[in-house]
Each structure stands twice: as structure tokens, then as C-alpha cells.
């Protein structure tokens, strides 16, 4: 018996499995991760987070679209729209540095958020899930770094 029933269903599992960060996880693992995710709905033009805010987690778009508005010139050309399955704010999982851009919902957008505390829980309590998620996050971050380096020609490709 549970007081707070898990609102997980097959459709939700499929939806989460479609997100690159989680696509390597099994159904059982997805259910475990789902317990740690926070679902949020943003209206069109609603701010998700602002540049300079201390960041604590990553937001993954389930449906709808977000737009990042960085003030930094080099970032402006690299990252703009974040659609379903894509994520924003991954670096905040690893440090508490300020957000690099203001992110706004371009339409009614459903997101799931994974925060530092829950991510740490995942890494310590279920290492197999933690490693899979960590590898996917590393892939996303390295892809972003490469994109950035392609735009900024003076930066060497590492």
C-alpha cells in the first residue's frame, strides 16, 4: 500500500525512454529514475531560470519548446532552441555555478527536472543507472563543447 501513488504508466516510461539521457535505461531503471524526477509545466513566455541564478539541476523537455537567451556572444550562436528530448542546464548537476543563460518557454512546455541531490542519490544508490546517465550527460556536454568550438574558430579542438 502506498499513500503517494506513483503516477507512472507505460506511456510515461516510453516518453522517458525517448529522452537521450535515459535511452540506455531498462524499463525497471526508468521507473526508479522517475521517482527522482520533478515534472513541471511552463506556460508560453514563462521563465524557467534566469542567467546568474545559482543552478542546481538539469531540465529536460518532454513536450513543447524552450529558448535559451544567453548574453554571451559565443553562446548565442551555439545554443538556442531546446525541443522534446533535449536538455538544458546540465552543468548545474556538477557544480553550483550561475546559470549561463535565461531560459524561457516558447510554448506551453512540459519538463522533467533532475537535481543535484537526486543525481547524487542515483550515483551512490544505483551505480548502474548512475553510470549510464553520467555517460549520456558527458556525451551531451562534449557535443555542446564541440559545437561551441566550431563556432569559435580561434578555440582549438581538444
Amino acid at each position: 500500500m502506498r499513500f503517494f501513488s506513483a503516477d507512472t504508466n507505460a506511456q510515461k516510461v516510453e516518453m522517458l525512454k525517448g529522452i537521450p539521457i535515459f535511452h540506455k535505461l531498462t524499463r525497471k531503471e526508468i521507473l526508479e529514475v522517475d521517482e527522482l524526477l520533478y515534472e513541471r509545466v511552463y506556460e508560453k513566455d514563462e521563465i524557467v531560470f534566469e542567467e546568474g541564478d545559482p543552478g542546481h539541476g538539469v531540465f529536460i523537455v518532454v513536450s513543447g519548446r524552450l529558448r535559451a537567451n544567453p548574453t554571451h556572444e559565443s553562446l548565442r550562436t551555439a545554443l538556442l532552441d531546446i525541443g522534446p528530448g533535449e536538455s538544458v542546464g546540465e552543468l548545474a548537476l556538477f557544480d553550483e555555478g550561475p546559470r549561463g543563460a535565461t531560459v524561457v518557454a516558447m510554448e506551453r512546455t512540459v519538463t522533467v527536472a533532475l537535481f543535484q541531490a537526486e543525481f547524487s542519490t542515483l550515483l551512490t544508490k544505483n551505480k548502474s543507472i548512475g553510470i549510464k546517465v553520467l555517460i549520456e550527460l558527458a556525451r551531451i556536454l562534449s557535443r555542446r563543447a564541440r559545437q561551441l568550438m566550431q563556432h569559435e574558430k580561434h578555440l582549438p579542438t581538444l
Binding site: E43, K44, V48, A117, K127
Partner: protein
């Protein structure tokens, strides 16, 4: 982990008022408050055990069930012990009288010695005066104080059976409960509220786990010291005194009095044994404050000493014995919650974002 935020003046006032109101409420429903508080302590202490079982491949619910089953066996054993103890009411009433007499004897010997050393005390007739006061207090002590407490315990016992039940649901559903609470927080405050919630949760966990380790260390030191002094049932007395110390200030004093009474009764001709017990308690108290506490609890809920005393008086005035016991822990927790909430709702940027979100939601007809 960051230290707890310290509340501002306005928040502090609200927190003090809320504490008093809640203490009044607690007094009315102590039968429910006690098991919930114990369950909370057990939840935070058993969490690492459940997590360790989960890491080893057990499902969280199965791990929680296993841990709670073990906890229920321990609780049932304790219940049987208490019932057996109560069944011997006639015997322990007599024993209690014997221990009180032992204490009075020690007091008489101590005041006698003092009168011999300091003649002023003899002129003041200190020994006779103290003896009279003590006789007045202890005359019919069992009927006046002990029987009502025992009857109250009997009323509470069934409600204590709720403890494993509540702990089980906390162990299995805490993540969902957190999600459920956070769901009600508006988007603008969501990230900050979640962060503060996580800090509060982690700090409470540290506090309760530290409290259990501290109790173990206290009990071990006291048991060892009492064994060396040759006191009977040293382990049980040490454990009882360490658990009593959960009640701020008052608990330590009661624990010390019990042990001194036992020593004074078991060694009526050797008052130095009782004095040694007193010194042992003081020693453990000093060890506790300067070594064990920083090592175990460390980041416990910090309350200013002046506020601690004020809250103890307020608690006792508002809710009697219940208030005295719960005033400080409740105040500590409410101070953290109050400051956390005030930090979130007084952030101008977040408030502006919240207003904008409300306007947007209204314009889309979602309010």
C-alpha cells in the same frame, strides 16, 4: 553542506509564536505526537540501512519491510519487558521507596559533613531544613507522582505501536511525499525551495543519526564508568541515562539523579561512590559537549543559549511537562523552516517571476 540559515527578527517572532501554539496542540494530542517524533527519528536512522540493502539489490519496499520487521520485534520485546516491569508494581513501589530513602540518607550524610566543615551551615540548621523539605517532597511520592506517570505511560503504550507502522511508510514513501509537497510550490520558487528542502532533509538526517551515535557513546561511557564503580545494572542505567539525555537539560539531570540514588542505596556506608557517580556524569557531560557532539551531531539545529532558556520557560508555561520536553527541538525545526520559507518568499526576483507567471497563466485561462 551549507549551515542552516539563521532567522531574522520578524521570522523569529513568528517562529516563537508558532512554537507556543504547536506546543499547546501537542499537549492535547501527545499520544500521536510522540509516535510520530519517534518514527521520524527512526526513519532518519534506518534510512542508511535501507539504502545499503537497496544497493545490494533488494527492492526498497522489501528492504523497508525487513528493517521494520526487525524494529517491530525489538519494540515488542521492549513492550513485554515494560509489561513485566509493571506487573511487579508492588515490588517496584517498595524498591522506589528504598531508593528514595537511600537518597535521603546520602543527603543527610552530605549535609552532616558540610555542617562539620562549615560551622555557618550548622548555625543555619541546614541539614534539618533540607531533610524536612525533602521529606515533604518525597512523602507519598509514589502515589503523588509515580502512579500518575505510570498510568500515563499505560495510555501511551498502544500509541507507541504506531511507531513501526509510521516508520515503514516514511521509509517507502518519503521520495513520493517530497515530490507531493514540492508539486504545490509555484514554478518561480521551485528550484530554490527544492534546494532548501534537500538541505533541511540532509541536515535532519545528520542530526538524528548523530543523536543515535551520541546516545551509544554516552551509554558506553556511562556503563563503563558505572561498572568500574561497581554499580549494579551498569549497562541498563547507562543506557537509560543516555536516552533520558534526549530531553534537553532536564533529561541529563533526571538521569544523574537516578544513578546517584541507586549508588546511594547500594552503598549506604560509602557516600563517595555516589559522589563518584556525580563526577562521572559531569565528566561524560563535558566529553559530550566538547568531543562527542562536535564529532557526531556537529551541524545540529543551533539555538542561542538565551533563546534555549526562554523557550524552555515558555514551553513549560504553555504546555507543562510536554512543553518542557518538546520546546527546544520544535523551536529548532520551526526556526529552520521559518527561515527557509522567508528566504524563498522574500526573494524579490523570484516574487517578480511568480507574479509574471500568474499573469501568464491568467491570460491563458489556467488559473
Amino acid at each position: 553542506m551549507r549551515p542552516f540559515p539563521q532567522p531574522g527578527a520578524a521570522t523569529l517572532l513568528v517562529v516563537i509564536l508558532s512554537t507556543c501554539l504547536l506546543l499547546l496542540l501537542f499537549q492535547k494530542m501527545i499520544w500521536l505526537v510522540l509516535p510520530v517524533l519517534l518514527a521520524l527519528m527512526l526513519y532518519y536512522s534506518l534510512c542508511p540501512v535501507v539504502d545499503a540493502l537497496v544497493v545490494r539489490g533488494m527492492r526498497r519496499e522489501t528492504a523497508a519491510k525487513a528493517v521494520c520487521l526487525l524494529q517491530m520485534i525489538v519494540a515488542a520485546s521492549l513492550l513485554v519487558l515494560v509489561l513485566l516491569f509493571l506487573a511487579k508494581a508492588g515490588t517496584w513501589q517498595n524498591s522506589f521507596g528504598r531508593y528514595l530513602a537511600g537518597g535521603q540518607n546520602l543527603l543527610r550524610m552530605t549535609t552532616g559533613s558540610l555542617e562539620r566543615v562549615v560551622p555557618v551551615f550548622k548555625k543555619m540548621n541546614l541539614g534539618a531544613q533540607i531533610d524536612e523539605r525533602v521529606r515533604q517532597f518525597t512523602g507519598g511520592f509514589v502515589e503523588k507522582h509515580l502512579l500518575p506517570i505510570t498510568l500515563q505511560l499505560l495510555v501511551w503504550l498502544p500509541s507507541l505501536l504506531l511507531v513501526p507502522y509510521i516508520t515503514y511508510f516514511m521509509l517507502t514513501d518519503s521520495a513520493r511525499l517530497k515530490k507531493y509537497i514540492i508539486k504545490s510550490v509555484p514554478n518561480a520558487f521551485f528550484e530554490k525551495a527544492l534546494l532548501l528542502f534537500s538541505h533541511l532533509d540532509a541536515s535532519l538526517q545528520n542530526y538524528f543519526q548523530g543523536l543515535f551515535v551520541l546516545t551509544f557513546l554516552d551509554a558506553a561511557c556511562l556503563a563503563l564508568g558505572l561498572s568500574v564503580l561497581g554499580i549494579a545494572h551498569a549497562v541498563w542505567l547507562g543506557l537509560a541515562a543516555a536516552v533520558l539525555a534526549w530531553v534537553p537539560y532536564l533529561g541529563s539531570i533526571v538521569g544523574c539523579i537516578i544513578v546517584v540514588l541507586v549508588a546511594a542505596t547500594d552503598f549506604p556506608e560509602q557516600p563517595w561512590t555516589a559522589y563518584a557517580c556525580l563526577v562521572l556524569f559531569l565528566g561524560v557531560r563535558i566529553l559530550d559537549d566538547f568531543v562527542f557532539m562536535p564529532l557526531t551531531i556537529g551541524r545540529k539545529l543551533r539555538v542561542h543559549p538565551l533563546l534555549s532558556v526562554l523557550m524552555l520557560f515558555l514551553g513549560a508555561t504553555v504546555a507543562g511537562a510536554t512543553g518542557l520536553v518538546f520546546a527546544l527541538p520544535l523551536f529548532g525545526v520551526l526556526a529552520v523552516i521559518g527561515e527557509t520559507v522567508s528566504q524563498v518568499v522574500t526573494d524579490r526576483r523570484l516574487r517578480a517571476r511568480y507574479r509574471a507567471s500568474r499573469q501568464l497563466a491568467a491570460s491563458y485561462g489556467r488559473v
